[in-house]
């Protein structure tokens, strides 16, 4: 019973850690907009956490610059299992307009498995909520798979 309750509360209280890997700040602002009174993601228990150790969902924005690549990999390694990785916007998936630059390492899929991709440049806050909601469901599935 406790196992079920824990798995269920996984999708009810996902804490977000946001990594900016050289983003233009557009996606970052939209992610914060999701927590404003108009969209209020806290309805579903979403909360921005200050440290990767508390995180359940890691949101990556930006085209992964060479400088931030190592930091990204190290940050992701510090997140306790189960965790879900979400890419925000076009940049982490492809590099967007920065692709082919000497200092850009995108796509992020080279370093980490991406669970949910939110497309858009930048995504509308509704799309961000939908993506994070999907990520929370995946989190619950991962927890159920861990305890099986």
């Amino acid at each position: 019973m406790l196992k079920n309750a824990i798995a269920k509360s996984m999708s009810r209280s996902p804490w977000i850690y946001h990594v900016n890997t050289g983003s233009c700040n557009g996606c970052d602002i939209e992610l914060v907009a999701v927590l404003t009174p108009r969209y209020d993601a806290e309805r579903f228990g979403f909360k921005l956490s200050g440290t990767p150790r508390h995180a359940d969902i890691v949101v990556i924005s930006g085209p992964v610059t060479t400088q931030s690549k190592d930091r990204l990999v190290r940050t992701l390694a510090q997140v306790p299992e189960p965790k879900v990785v979400v890419t925000l916007g076009s940049c982490p998936q492809s590099g967007n307009v920065f692709k082919g630059s000497y200092s850009v390492e995108a796509p992020v899929e080279k370093f980490v498995h991406v669970d949910v991709a939110i497309a858009g440049c930048t995504p509308k806050p509704e799309a961000v909520i939908a993506g994070l909601y999907k990520a929370a469901e995946i989190l619950q599935k991962k927890r159920e798979a861990m305890t099986k």
Binding site: S9, P37, D40, P82
Partner: protein, 319 residues
């Protein structure tokens, strides 16, 4: 001791005024705080059960012990803090009745109240993170800031109730109020009441007095390296602390309300706790921004300590 007596004590410790009751009411107050805060910011806010979800979720997460950490101290710190809080819950009278009571239990409460903060400091320092280092230094300053007004408030209450004999027994304070009316309605105690209302948020660590755990600047300070079950216990500590502090407030200033029905008394107690949570934590959180550590120290040692001292002088001259 016979078996029923032992079971009764176990019941007291684990279920009624102890562990389960304190945890449930603490989580309820924490949920209420978040919901009301959200409503004041024109948001829908999380459900009332949200702190429970947070707690259960953290139980299901992997526990990571950093390489630089002292494993034993790191894992024991939250448990020590939690145990101290549960012992505290046994001292606080719920509807005029407490598990442990004695002559100087107010002093025991005062000392036990520092243990969760000390546990946070010890746990944070054992994690070996520089952010935790900044966090614990701030936590220590915060502790120093609110201890002085808290002691003065308790002294005022003791003087008011016991006269020149100074009554430090919480049970006696409650029964005195049953006879002479709540302390909150004595004009000389109003500044002390305000001071106590301002001590509660610093003790619990809510905004604007959460400088030690500022998640936007020092990444939750002492808690930075904690994950999984130990973090869950720390979060639970905050929730239980909410209950302990508001219940202590209720006993000090609104004690002695007795209707004769046990359940009704408990409901009144929880209602007072919820009201105090709203006025001392939620409302202040909603309308202020986080202070700097030096401002916090100055505020507590001038404004709050001044209010408490004013009350003490008024009581001392016999008002």
């Amino acid at each position: 001791m016979d078996i029923t007596g032992a079971l009764y004590i176990l019941f007291k410790i684990l279920i009624f005024p102890g562990l389960l009751f304190a945890v449930v009411i603490g989580l309820f107050l924490a949920g209420l705080d978040r919901k009301l805060l959200a409503r004041m910011q024109k948001r829908v806010g999380p459900p009332l059960r949200q702190p429970l979800f947070d707690f259960l979720k953290l139980l299901g997460k992997e526990t990571i012990v950093p390489h630089a950490a002292n494993k034993t101290v790191y894992l024991a710190a939250p448990v020590v803090g939690f145990t101290a809080l549960i012992v505290l819950a046994l001292f606080i009278p719920v509807f005029g009745y407490s598990t442990f009571s004695g002559n100087g239990d107010l002093i025991v409460i005062l000392y036990l109240l520092t243990i969760p903060a000390v546990a946070l400091i010890v746990g944070g320092s054992s994690s070996g993170s520089p952010y935790a280092g900044i966090g614990i230094s701030r936590e220590m300053v915060t502790m120093m800031s609110y201890e002085l007004p808290l002691v003065v408030v308790l002294l005022t209450v003791a003087r008011k109730v016991g006269g020149s004999a100074l009554c430090f027994s919480l049970g006696d304070i409650v029964s005195w109020q049953a006879e002479n009316g709540c302390l909150a309605f004595h004009p000389a105690m109003i500044p002390a009441l305000l001071a106590m209302l301002l001590v509660i948020p610093a003790e619990v660590g809510t905004q604007p007095f959460d400088v030690a755990e500022a998640e936007t600047e020092i990444c939750e300070g002492p808690l930075i390296e904690y994950s999984g079950a130990p973090l869950a216990v720390f979060k639970l500590n905050t929730a239980v602390k909410m209950f302990i502090m508001t219940a202590l407030f209720a006993n000090l200033f609104f004690g002695g309300i007795e209707t004769g029905y046990v359940a009704l008394d408990a409901v009144i107690m929880v209602a007072i706790c919820a009201l105090v949570t709203f006025f001392s934590m939620t409302l202040i959180h909603a309308v202020t921004a986080r202070l700097k550590i030096e401002h916090l120290f100055k505020f507590y040692w001038t404004v709050v300590a001044g209010l408490a001292a004013l009350s003490l002088i008024l009581v001392w001259v016999g008002l």
